[in-house]
Amino acid sequence: MFGFGRKGETGDWVDLKSQPVPEGRHLLEVDDLKMFFHTQDGVVKAVNGVSYTLDRGETLGVVGESGSGKSVTSLTIMGLIDMPPGRIEGGDVLYRGRSLLAMSEEEMEHIRGNDIAMIFQDPMTSLNPVYTIGRQLSEGMMLHLGYNRQQALQRSVELLRMVGIPNAEQRVKGYPHELSGGMRQRVMIAMALACDPDILIADEPTTALDVTIQAQIIELMQEMQEKNGNAIIMITHDLGVVADIADKIMVMYAGQPVEFGTADEIFYSPIHPYTWGLTRSIPDPIMDEKKPLTPIKGNPPSLVSTALGCAFAPRCPYATDRCRSERPPTHVTGTGHYARCHFAHDAAFVAANAPATSRTKGRPERVAEAVTRHAEGGEAS
């Protein structure tokens, strides 16, 4: 992070960001990526066959519970996994048509922060407490954009103002501990956006924050995306958070994507029993009477398991002998919506067991009604 005065040396490096995306390719293509950890307890299949594509301006939501491999996937893309114990066991990651996995560490240093930036869950530990906020913001710009200290500081003030931090001129001279958690997460976003990256990876950016602050941060990320046109990968355990922001959603379980589709597909026509289970586990915030939740029984899986069949079978209420013995194929629909389940192609099964959604229940009318009620109330006052 510090030192290695590489500023000005960017000349010999072809800035991938300014290159057009090759014909027929996407901004980011992850193709059957496999990343295993080789530990004493055995092989941990942390990422096991993840595939998706992402274009500029899009937001991908990656949803999964702890240990589902959702964070490791992004860290693998960023080349931030220690190898060993990690090892790429197959697949590829293409950024603007170039393989990130084939790049040297030096090339990856250009990519990180410049083309793909990342923000983390805990804003308290993500900032270095002994450096001023301005210095930490400047670092990336001096490294990747060849700014001098003066220019970088000036840009830092602009960035802080952009992410809504009051008294930006004073704040650049301040230290992280002077800021609240929400403000620090704003600094992290400013830092990530400093070099105008193509892709912003946000790993549970709001989990450590209060609800009202969470709403602010999500709003900020959306605003920034509209302004800069970057793509976002939003990693979260909370389906509610991605409902707001995601265009596409990948649901992960035990290192595998079990379902992938547009937000509409995942929320209104999900086909994988795990996705159904997640939806049913969340208390319905708009309820008239109390109904018990329908949790997913059992406990999170071991990633070391060598089970033959579907990873979700032990917890799946619909599991058959076939599910327990045979790995399910990936069933892809016409729109690119896919699920790994033996019954994904069985429309009748899906229709009979999928949870009711607001669309099937005619919920929008109720919502519309509520909105009108609010509007009327507004006029009355």
């Binding site: 950890f37 240990g67 990342m118 270095n128």
Partner: protein
Amino acid sequence: MDANNDTLGAAAASVEAAQASTFAAAPSRTLWGDAWHRLRRNRLAMGGAIWIILMVVIALTADLWVPRTLGSPTAIDSSTMTSMSRLPPSSEHPFGTDTLGRDVLCRVIYGARISLSVGVLATAISTLIGLVAGALAAYNGGLWDAVIMRFADIFLAFPYTLFVIAMLAVIGPGIQNVFIAIGVLGWPSIARVFRSAILSVKENDYVDAARAMGASDARIILRHIFPNSVASIVVYATMNIGGAILTESALSFLGMGVIPPDPSWGIMIQDGQTYLATQPWLMIMPGIAILTTVLAFTLLGDGLRDALDVKMKDA
């Protein structure tokens, strides 16, 4: 940015990997069993432990075989004294003989008795005082904490060895007084270590949980706080034994400790220093004994620290 991300990324990844491997850990073992399992895999610590056990066994059984083979550690035979004086190491006297014709190996072995017992007993005294003081300070807090810890600070403000010498000057030299002086003056650092261990254990919700279910203070200390903070004390005490042995040697070297003709490693070094250039074994042999014993306790303590850490799981 990059380096920052690197560490975080690696940390996040290892957390997920650790979670994954946690679920994989299958067989049930007790925590002490786990600790033993980990300790056994630490070669340096096991080497230290074996060395200590060997020393203890030799020192304890010395009366059974040493006088017969190597002679008495203290008695002086005036008839053979000059001919036997300061002989170099040989098959008959593996460590050579000293000025008064006594076998050095025999004296090193009997010296181990004194050194080990000083180490263990003095540490036992300071641990006992330190545990009580540390527990009172940490558990009661407030005025107790302030008074006890300031008192400990006063003790720590004086150079330790000088303090021990001063105390021996008052109570007089001799092996028992050495136990007492080293033991009594060693408590403040143990009290500090134990206090901070308790304070960090006290933060855990299970202590509040015990209070919330109506457990008495005694029960909370004995069942919850003590078992979870004892690890740091075991580690510290183990290392402290080595320190106490060093202190005793230093005191004996200065003539404040064990009174001749009792063999002590410190006295032997003091006796031998005059002949360092001509008959170096007189000083080197007891020196090696001190070095290896103190090192063994330090290595064992280090290994125990790693082995007793619950957070290490079964890595």
